[in-house]
């Protein structure tokens, strides 16, 4: 077995027993990237040379993670290495500082293998909106890896990195994880510092792990979570060790199954597979009950109003003055602003800025933005009611499996429906995890989503771990790089 096939906790064990060195791990990944990156196109920038250098000087006394490689979504600022957001706007941008999560993982001795492709500014659900390249799904190279953290999910699935950081505004960690057959965890809003994450929608964005299994997700969450003075929305809670919840037991777990996520728009095979998983939970001793979350469709609409409004404001900073793309074609300052933005942003980003500016503009603010913020309260309340009765909710992660590249990218509205099952979690600020639960008749992976109470990561990790240990997806199915 090659080192790149192992999970991080397996690599850690081997490092602990001194069976392998960090250099050997990096070499293994370097070889793998050389072989498979041309098919997958997951990286915007690779940093293998510096990774090799770092691996030579690893000190494992302070951290068990020291010497383990990682991949990073390209919207997380890395000092000295380009952070492009897969946009022409930031094609040559080199952040002058590290994001807090980067400081944290570097302090642990983790070694970056590079920056991973994404939909431009994280706006999309297929990674097709990257300005640079289309990342392929390792299970079938004709299909999308999902998005927006599609580079991260595809890289983990294809063993190009052992794990990766993604970001999730409306499903951008969980949905690509589901489509690529890996684990994706979106922490509770406020759990992980957003300092240094290029902002898309600040009240929804959260950084989280994309990993090969639940144990790795718990380990990485341990490393990146915690209060940060530089992010005033990060929450100051006592530090927890999420690996304590890697316990195979759901006997006391009360599961709610919101029926709205099993109806129209959900692919039959996805539905059947998730229902089978729910049955498995019942067999494992959990109490399962159907319930209702009557605002699923409204949540999607609320999401697009709020996310685009916040994006139009956040992306106002790209003006061609201090950093980022500057047009060559200008006579005055206004020209610089307008032409730089028009030439630097891609079509989907512009569409969303237009929508966001519209819902914030005088005359429409109350009807759309303010109304959406109120409905957001209702959505939160609906979840609170459900969590009085249940510990976790189960839904499919994505309404479909990975689809063919190019089939939806010209229809924004259809693309938006990909977020149906995931956005309400961001609207309410809850934690959610996607784990693989099977494959469809074409062999494409299907993900199920577990949603927890605010700061209920322990519960969803234990529930996810229990199921994972029972079905052993990783042992049964592997990506085939089908052409």
């Amino acid at each position: 077995m090659e080192l790149y096939e192992l999970t991080v906790h397996e690599l850690m064990d081997k490092l602990d027993r001194k069976e392998i060195t960090s250099e050997e791990i990096i070499k293994s990944y370097s070889k793998r990237i050389e072989e498979k990156e041309k098919d997958i196109q997951a990286f915007v920038t690779t940093t293998i040379d510096t990774a090799m250098e770092k691996a030579k000087n690893i000190n494992r006394e302070n951290s068990k993670l020291a010497g383990i490689p990682i991949g990073i979504k390209d919207n997380i600022c890395t000092k000295g290495v380009k952070t492009t957001c897969s946009s022409k706007m930031l094609e040559n941008f080199i952040a002058p500082y590290n994001a807090t999560v980067i400081e944290k993982i570097e302090n642990e001795g983790l070694i970056s293998l590079g920056k991973l492709n994404m939909d431009e500014f994280a706006m999309g659900a297929s990674t097709e909106y990257s300005a640079f390249k289309t990342t392929k799904n390792p299970w079938n190279l004709q299909t999308v890896p999902g998005g927006s953290s599609g580079g991260s999910a595809a890289a983990v699935a294809a063993n190009l990195v052992p794990w990766a950081l993604g970001s999730d505004t409306g499903g951008s960690i969980r949905q690509p994880a589901a489509l690529c057959g890996v684990v994706g965890l979106k922490p509770t809003y406020g759990m992980v510092s957003r300092y240094g994450l290029v902002a898309f929608a600040s009240s929804l964005d959260q950084i989280g792990p994309i990993t090969k299994d639940v144990e790795d997700a718990a380990i990485l969450l341990n490393a990146i979570s915690g209060h940060d003075e530089k992010d005033s929305t990060s929450v100051n809670l006592p530090k927890k060790d999420y690996t304590q919840n890697l316990v195979k037991d759901v006997s006391k777990l009360k599961i709610g199954v919101p029926k709205e996520f099993f109806g129209e728009g959900i692919n039959e095979e996805v539905k059947t597979s998730v229902e089978k998983a729910i049955e498995q939970y019942r067999k494992l001793g959990a109490t399962v009950e159907e319930c209702s979350l009557n605002i699923a469709n409204e949540a999607l609409a609320v999401y697009y109003i709020i996310a685009c409004a916040e994006a139009s404001s956040n992306l106002g900073r790209f003006d061609g003055i201090r950093y980022g793309y500057r047009t060559k074609n200008f006579n005055n300052l206004k020209d610089i602003y307008k032409n730089s933005r028009s030439e630097g942003f891609g079509a989907e980003v512009k569409r969303r800025i237009i929508l966001g500016t519209y819902v914030l503009s005088s005359g429409y603010y109350d009807a759309y933005y303010k109304k959406a913020q109120k409905v957001r309260t209702v959505i939160k309340q609906e979840f609170e009611k459900l969590f009085e009765k249940y510990d976790v909710l189960i839904t499919p992660t994505s309404p479909t499996v990975a689809y063919e590249i190019g089939t939806k990218s010209n229809n924004p509205l259809e693309m938006y429906l990909a977020d149906l099952c995931t956005v309400s979690v961001n609207i309410a600020g809850l934690p959610g995890i996607s784990i693989p639960c099977g494959v469809d008749s074409q062999g494409m992976p299907i993900g199920l989503q577990l949603i927890g109470k605010p700061f209920g990561e322990e519960t969803i990790i234990q529930a996810a771990y229990t199921y994972e240990q029972e079905i052993k997806f990783r042992e049964k199915y592997k990506p085939e790089f089908k052409m």
Binding site: G324, I354, Q373, V375, P412, L430
Partner: protein
């Protein structure tokens, strides 16, 4: 809500984006489709409901107002599209 061509141009101007003549209709139709669809938020009764700005509901998180000097000024300026000495270059603003 019916979106008119003039409105698209107005919004694009607010957003500091150029829209070419041949693109206006596409943007208009696109925005119209999305607005028609997001209109379902109006099905939800929100009388006596306050807005949620941020899911944690934390407000006014203060920290000490202390000046910290950013050390790597060179790194800040290296991203500037045009610079002169220690400054960003822009076209003349006052005629």
């Amino acid at each position: 809500m019916q979106v008119e061509k003039e409105e698209i141009l107005h919004i694009a101007n607010l957003a500091c984006l150029n829209i070419k003549d041949e693109e206006i209709e596409e943007y208009r139709k696109n925005l119209q489709d999305i607005l028609n669809w997001v209109d379902i938020v109006n099905r939800v009764d929100t009388s006596n409901i306050n807005e949620t700005i941020c899911s944690t509901n934390n407000i006014n998180i203060f920290r000490k107002d202390e000046i910290e000097e950013f050390q790597d000024k060179e790194l800040l300026l290296q991203n500037a599209p045009e610079k002169q000495n220690n400054m960003f270059n822009i076209p003349k603003v006052i005629q």
